[in-house]
C-alpha cells in the first residue's frame, strides 16, 4: 500500500512537473507547428476569435499560408456549390421568363378578352382529365370559360372551366373522357365531334362519309359550338379510320394542338354567354 502511495506521489510530481514545463516555457517553433498540424488535421478551422494570435504564435509564415489557402479553398468550394444551385434557379427563371414573354406576346394576337392563370395542381390519376388553376371567382372566372394554352408560338384549345371556387378553378381538359368539342376543318363544309379518351389523343366522330379529311389537317373550333369561341385550333389529324360497313360516318384520331400535360400557364377567355344560355352550357 505504501509502495503504491509512493508511486502515486512520484508519478503526480513527475507529470505535474512536465505539465508545468509545457505551460511555463513558450513552445518552440517545431513543437508549435506540430501542434497546429495535429489540431488543424482534426478540426480544419482557423477561426479561433481572440485566441487566434496565440494559436499561431511561433508558426512559420509559409506554413500558415498553406493553411489559409486550404481555408480559402474550402470556402470557395462551398461558394461554387451555392452558385451552382443559384445558377440552376436563374436558368429556370430565365426559361420561365422566356416562355411567359412569348405567351404574353401571343395572347395579344388572340382577339379574346381574358386573364392569365398558372396551373397549380395536377392529379397523376387524372393526368389527361383535369387540373387546377390559381384564378377563381374573385378574378372574374366563370363556369365554362374557355381555357387556351400556348406552345411553340401557337395557341390551342386546352379545355373549359367546370368548377369555380373563390381563388382557384378546375379545368376540364379536352382530353378528358367526358369532354367533347364541335370542330371543323377551315374551308370545309362538315363538322365533327372531337371527344376525349383519357389519353393524349382525341377521337373525332360523326364525320360524314366522303368528307375530304386527311392526315395532317388541322381542326379548329366550330362556329356552331356554344361553349368555345370559333377558330381556336383543336388539333391535327393523325389517322383517319376507314368506314365500317355498318356505319354512315368515319372517325379520326387527332393530336391536340398543344401538349396538354405540359402546360404551366393558361389563358382563360371570358366569354359572356347570354343569360338564357348559361344554364344550357353548364349542362
Amino acid at each position: 500500500m505504501n509502495r503504491e502511495k509512493d508511486m502515486a506521489n512520484y508519478a503526480v510530481v513527475f507529470f505535474v512537473f512536465i505539465s508545468a514545463l509545457l505551460l511555463l516555457f513558450p513552445s518552440t517553433r517545431v513543437a508549435q507547428t506540430a501542434r497546429v498540424i495535429a489540431s488543424y488535421s482534426l478540426y480544419p478551422s482557423l477561426h479561433y476569435g481572440a485566441k487566434y494570435d496565440y494559436f499561431i504564435r511561433n508558426v512559420p509564415e509559409n506554413f500558415l499560408n498553406i493553411l489559409k489557402i486550404d481555408q480559402e479553398n474550402r470556402s470557395l468550394t462551398a461558394r461554387i456549390k451555392e452558385l451552382e444551385i443559384s445558377n440552376k434557379a436563374a436558368e429556370s427563371v430565365q426559361e420561365e421568363n422566356r416562355r411567359l414573354t412569348a405567351e404574353m406576346g401571343l395572347s395579344r394576337n388572340v382577339p379574346l378578352r381574358g386573364v392569365w392563370a398558372r396551373v397549380v395542381n395536377k392529379n397523376p390519376q387524372d393526368w389527361y382529365g383535369a387540373f387546377f388553376i390559381n384564378k377563381g371567382a374573385r378574378d372574374g372566372i366563370t363556369m365554362n370559360s374557355t381555357v387556351v394554352g400556348f406552345e411553340n408560338g401557337r395557341a390551342g384549345l386546352a379545355g373549359r372551366v367546370f368548377e369555380v371556387y373563390p381563388d382557384i378553378s378546375k379545368v376540364l381538359l379536352i382530353t378528358n373522357g367526358v369532354s367533347s368539342v364541335i370542330c371543323s376543318l377551315p374551308g370545309a363544309n362538315f363538322e365533327g365531334l372531337a371527344e376525349g379518351r383519357g389519353t393524349w389523343l382525341l377521337k373525332v366522330n360523326y364525320i360524314p362519309e366522303g368528307s375530304d379529311i386527311a392526315e395532317g389537317m388541322e381542326l379548329v373550333t366550330s362556329p356552331g359550338g356554344l361553349l368555345f369561341p370559333q377558330g381556336l385550333p383543336v388539333g391535327r389529324v393523325q389517322k383517319v379510320h376507314p368506314k365500317e360497313s355498318f356505319m354512315n360516318f368515319i372517325t379520326a384520331d387527332v393530336a391536340p394542338a398543344i401538349t396538354i400535360n405540359a402546360l404551366k400557364e393558361v389563358y382563360i377567355v371570358k366569354k359572356d354567354l347570354p343569360p338564357g344560355l348559361q344554364g344550357a352550357a353548364a349542362k
Binding site: A8, S19, S27, R35, S39, Y43
Partner: protein, 159 residues
C-alpha cells in the same frame, strides 16, 4: 503486450472524441469523452498508471485545442491524483457515485483550467453553454465509459 493494448485504447478514445465533437455536437456542445475516459481510467487503473493515462489524455486535448499548451495535461494529472485520494475514502465503483463524481469534477476541472488560462495567457476559454451543459453530458456518459473500460480490463487486462 498490455502496453500496445493501452496505446490502441488511447488512440481509439481520441478518435471517438474527435469524431463525436466534429459530427455530433449539439449547438457546439458535446460530452467530453476524453474527460470521461480519464475519470474511468483514474478509478480503474493503479495510481501511477492512472496518472500517466490522465496526463497523456490531457496532452491530447491540448494538442487539439488552440489555448494554453499543457493546461489540460496538468488539470487531468491533478484530477487523477484527487481521484486516487478519493478512492481511499469513497466507493467510486457504483454508477451513482460516478455520476456525482463526473458532475462535480467536470465543473472543478473547467474552473481550474479557466484559472490557469487566465493566469498564464490572459485568455478566457470558458463558454457559458459548455459550462452549464457539459457536466450533465459527462455525468450521463461516465458510467457507460466506465463499464466499457472495466470489460476491457477483465478481458484484455488493459489499464
Amino acid at each position: 503486450m498490455a502496453i500496445i493494448g493501452d496505446i490502441v485504447l488511447f488512440l481509439l478514445t481520441g478518435l471517438i472524441h474527435w469524431w463525436w465533437t466534429a459530427n455530433l455536437s449539439v449547438f457546439g456542445v458535446a460530452p467530453n469523452i476524453i474527460f470521461t475516459a480519464a475519470l474511468s481510467a483514474a478509478i480503474i487503473a493503479r495510481p501511477a498508471k492512472a496518472i500517466a493515462w490522465c496526463f497523456f489524455l490531457g496532452v491530447y486535448l491540448d494538442l487539439l485545442g488552440s489555448n494554453l499548451f499543457g493546461a489540460y495535461a496538468l488539470t487531468y494529472t491533478v484530477m487523477a491524483y484527487v481521484i486516487y485520494m478519493m478512492k481511499r475514502h469513497l466507493d467510486l465503483i457504483g454508477p451513482f457515485s460516478q455520476i456525482i463524481a463526473a458532475l462535480t469534477l467536470t465543473l472543478v476541472t473547467m474552473l481550474f483550467y479557466q484559472g490557469l488560462s487566465l493566469a498564464l495567457s490572459k485568455i478566457n476559454p470558458l463558454q457559458l453553454k459548455a459550462f452549464l451543459v457539459e457536466p450533465f453530458f459527462n455525468a450521463v456518459l461516465a458510467p457507460i465509459v466506465f463499464y466499457f473500460f472495466v470489460q476491457l480490463k477483465k478481458r484484455f487486462n488493459l489499464l
